[in-house]
C-alpha cells in the first residue's frame, strides 16, 4: 500500500469518485484553478473543468443553499469551505434545509451534499480559523459527521460520503493534512458509524477524536514504558457514533477517558459518557473523565494557543490519574 498524506488521500478519493460520477461537482472559494487553499482540489480543474470545479464569490450561505437545490435536482454537490469556521454563516441552510429535506419529503427527496472544511487549533490561526464544530452538527438529526484522523480513513470516509444519499459534514483537522499513512488504492470504503481501535490495551479505554488520536498514541507510548496498557478508540464518525465498540472496550478495561480538542460542554465526550454510564454502568471501575480544549475562544500567540489544547503530556497525566483512581 502506498504512503500518502491525509490531504493526498482525500484528493485521491475525490478524484476517483469524480471520475465515476459525472454528477459530482465542487463549489468553493479558490477551489478551481487555484486548487484549494489546502490543495483539496489540486489538479482537478484541469481534469474536470470549470463547471465541476466552480469558484464562488464569498457567500457561504448562498452556495450552501444552492447545494440544497442542486442535490434535490439530481446532482451531488461538494462544498469546500477551506476553513470550517466560514460555514457558520450557512448554518440555517444546513440545519433547517439540508438536514430536514429527506424527512420532510418522506424520503422522496435525497440530499447527497458533502460539506467539507478544515477545523482545529494550531499554527496561530487564531479564533476565526480554529473552530471544532462537530458537536454542533452532531446535535441535529439528518446529518452525518465524519472526523477522520488517519489518511486511509479520510479517503475511505470521503468515498463513502460521496456514495451516500445523506448530507455529510467532513471535517479535517488542519494539523492532520500532512500526516502520512498507508492508503489502499482504488476501492476503499470506510462505513459510517464504525469506530476503529487504533491501539489495543487492557488498563484504560481512551476515546480520542481527530488530532487527539495521534497525541493519545504518543501518550500511550510513554505510558507503555511505565507498564500501563492503553486502548485507543477512534470513532471516525461522530454522527452516527459507534457506541458499541466503546462499550466493548470499556467492558474490558473498566475505565474510560475521552480526549477531545473541542469544547466540553454539549460535546461528544458528554454524549459518550452518558451512553456508557447508561448502558455500561456495571463495567465501570472508576469515574469517566474528559479532557478537552479549554473553554475559551482560541488565542493567537503560540504560548497561549498551546495552553488551550490538550498536550501529549497532559493526556498522559490524565490517563495516569484515571488508572490510579
Amino acid at each position: 500500500m502506498p504512503e500518502l498524506t491525509f490531504m493526498k488521500a482525500t484528493l485521491e478519493g475525490l478524484t476517483e469518485e469524480m471520475e465515476l460520477n459525472p454528477r459530482i461537482f465542487v463549489m468553493g472559494e479558490g477551489i478551481g484553478k487555484r486548487g484549494g487553499n489546502f490543495k483539496t482540489t489540486e489538479g482537478l480543474f484541469d481534469r474536470f473543468g470549470a463547471e465541476r470545479l466552480c469558484d464562488t464569490p464569498i457567500c457561504e450561505r448562498g452556495f450552501v443553499g444552492m447545494a440544497a437545490g442542486a442535490a434535490m435536482t439530481g446532482t451531488r454537490p461538494i462544498i469546500d469551505f477551506m476553513f470550517a469556521d466560514f460555514i457558520m454563516d450557512s448554518i440555517g441552510e444546513i440545519v433547517n434545509q439540508i438536514a430536514k429535506m429527506q424527512y420532510m419529503s418522506s424520503g422522496r427527496l435525497k440530499m447527497p451534499v458533502l460539506l467539507r472544511g478544515c477545523i482545529g487549533i494550531g499554527h496561530s490561526a487564531a479564533t476565526h480559523h480554529s473552530g471544532n464544530y462537530y458537536p454542533l452538527y452532531s446535535h441535529f438529526p439528518g446529518l452525518r459527521v465524519c472526523v477522520p484522523s488517519m489518511a486511509a480513513d479520510a479517503k475511505g470516509l470521503l468515498k463513502t460520503a460521496l456514495r451516500s444519499d445523506d448530507p455529510v459534514l467532513f471535517l479535517e483537522h488542519k494539523s492532520l493534512l500532512n500526516i502520512k499513512g498507508q492508503v489502499p488504492t482504488g476501492e476503499h470504503l470506510v462505513p459510517f458509524g464504525k469506530a476503529a481501535i487504533v491501539r489495543e490495551g487492557r488498563d484504560v479505554t481512551v476515546v480520542a477524536l481527530t488530532i487527539m488520536v495521534h497525541k493519545s498514541l504518543q501518550a500511550a507510548e510513554i505510558l507503555a514504558k511505565e507498564g500501563l496498557s492503553v486502548e485507543i478508540v477512534d470513532p471516525r464518525t461522530v454522527s452516527p457514533l459507534d457506541i458499541d465498540t466503546i462499550l466493548e472496550s470499556v467492558h474490558k478495561t473498566g475505565r474510560l477517558i475521552i480526549i477531545d480538542e473541542a469544547f466540553a460542554p454539549c460535546g461528544v465526550g458528554g454524549d459518550i459518557a452518558a451512553l456508557v454510564i447508561d448502558r455500561g454502568f456495571d463495567d465501570l471501575d472508576a469515574p469517566i473523565r474528559r479532557l478537552n480544549g479549554t473553554f475559551t475562544p482560541t488565542p493567537y500567540s503560540p504560548p497561549l494557543e498551546a495552553a488551550v489544547v490538550p498536550s501529549v503530556e497532559r493526556i498522559a497525566q490524565a490517563i495516569r490519574d484515571l488508572i490510579a483512581e
Partner: protein, 321 residues
C-alpha cells in the same frame, strides 16, 4: 412549453382551484381542522398560475410559507393539499409538513419553507444542476417582498447571474411582510430595479393580471433555456386576507385599502376580459367554476375522512434508505 396562444381556460381553472381551495381552508381553519399556521394566497392567484402554466413536471418550484397557490398551480391536488393541512397521512407531505412544508417532487413541487429566503438559493441550485446536466429544465423561486432585503436574495441572484443559470426569481410584492410595509423595510422600494445590481433583467408586472405574468414568465423561461441566464420578475399584488388565518388585519392597513384591492381581484378581472374579448363565454367559465367547486368539496371530504399518520413512523426517513 411556452405556447403562442395563452391557455385561457386552463389559467382560469387554476386560479379558481387556488381561490376555492383557499376559501375552503379558511373555513376549515375556523372549524379547527388545521392544526398549525395557514397563510392563504387569496388575491395573488394570478402569479403562481401565470408562471406555472409554462412548467412541466421536470421544471421545479421552490416556495415559501405562503405556498398553497404554488403547490396547486404546479399540480398538487386540492385533496393532497387539504389533507396535508389537516395533518393526515394522505397529505402531500404525509402530514409531516402542514401549510409551510408542502412537498411533491413527482410534480416538481420541491417544497415550501417556513424560513424566509432559502427558496431563492434552492432555485439557483436547481439551475446549477440543470446546467451541469445539460437538461432544459428551469428552477423557479417564488418569494415575498420580505425576502428581498434578506442576504439570500443578494447571494442567490448574484450567483445565478454570473453563471447564467436557468432560474426564475418571482417576487410577489404584496407590499407587506406580515405587518411591516415594504416601503419601510427597503431602501429602494422597487424590487425590479434590483436586477441591475446583479446584471440581470428586472421586470415589473401587474401581479393581478394573469396574462401579464404569463407573458413575462414566458420570456424569462425562453431566456433561461437559451442559456442567457436568470430573470427577476416583480409581481405587484396584494393579499386580501390576513397574513395568517386567525390574525387581525387592520392594525397596519385600512379596510378601504383591502377593499380597493379586492376590487382588483385577478380572477374576476380575467373573467371579465375573457368574456369581453370573446375568448370564453360566461357559461364556459361558470362550468369551470362549478367543476372546481365539486372537486374542492370532494377534496375536503377526502381530507376529513383520511387516516392520521401512524405515530410509529414519526422518525422514519431522517436518513436515506
Amino acid at each position: 412549453m411556452p405556447e403562442t396562444t395563452p391557455p385561457y381556460l386552463r389559467l382560469y381553472r387554476t386560479m379558481q382551484v387556488i381561490r376555492q381551495t383557499e376559501e375552503q381552508l379558511a373555513k376549515s381553519h375556523q372549524r379547527g381542522l388545521i392544526h398549525g399556521a395557514c397563510h392563504t394566497y387569496v388575491g395573488q392567484e394570478a402569479i403562481a398560475t401565470g408562471v406555472c402554466a409554462h412548467l412541466r413536471p421536470s421544471d421545479v418550484v421552490f416556495s415559501t410559507h405562503r405556498g398553497h397557490g404554488h403547490a396547486l398551480a404546479k399540480g398538487v391536488t386540492p385533496a393532497a393539499l387539504i389533507a396535508e393541512l389537516f395533518g393526515r397521512a394522505t397529505g402531500c407531505s404525509s402530514g409531516r409538513g402542514g401549510s409551510m412544508h408542502l412537498f411533491s417532487p413527482e410534480v416538481g413541487m420541491m417544497g415550501t419553507s417556513g424560513i424566509v429566503g432559502p427558496c431563492i438559493l434552492q432555485a439557483a441550485g436547481a439551475g446549477y444542476s440543470f446546467k451541469l446536466l445539460k437538461s432544459d429544465n428551469v428552477g423557479v423561486a417564488f418569494f415575498g417582498d420580505g425576502a428581498v432585503n434578506n442576504g439570500a436574495f443578494h447571494e442567490g441572484l448574484n450567483m445565478a447571474s454570473i453563471w447564467k443559470l436557468p432560474s426564475l426569481f418571482i417576487c410577489e410584492n404584496n407590499q407587506f411582510a406580515t405587518e411591516v410595509p415594504f416601503k419601510y423595510a427597503a431602501g429602494n422600494p422597487t424590487v425590479a430595479s434590483r436586477g441591475a445590481a446583479y446584471g440581470m433583467p428586472g421586470i415589473e408586472v401587474d401581479g393581478n393580471d394573469v396574462l401579464a405574468v404569463y407573458e413575462a414568465a414566458k420570456t424569462a423561461i425562453q431566456r433561461a433555456k437559451a442559456g442567457e441566464g436568470p430573470t427577476l420578475i416583480e409581481c405587484l399584488t396584494y393579499r386580501t386576507r390576513p397574513h395568517s388565518e386567525g390574525m387581525g388585519d387592520f392594525g397596519y392597513r385600512s379596510r378601504e385599502e383591502v377593499e380597493a384591492w379586492k376590487a382588483r381581484c385577478p380572477i374576476r378581472r380575467f373573467a371579465e376580459k375573457l368574456v369581453a374579448e370573446s375568448l370564453a363565454t360566461v357559461d364556459e367559465l361558470a362550468k369551470i367554476e362549478a367543476e372546481v367547486q365539486a372537486m374542492v368539496v370532494e377534496a375536503q371530504a377526502f381530507a376529513e375522512n383520511s387516516p392520521w399518520p401512524d405515530p410509529s413512523t414519526a422518525a422514519t426517513h431522517v436518513y436515506a434508505q
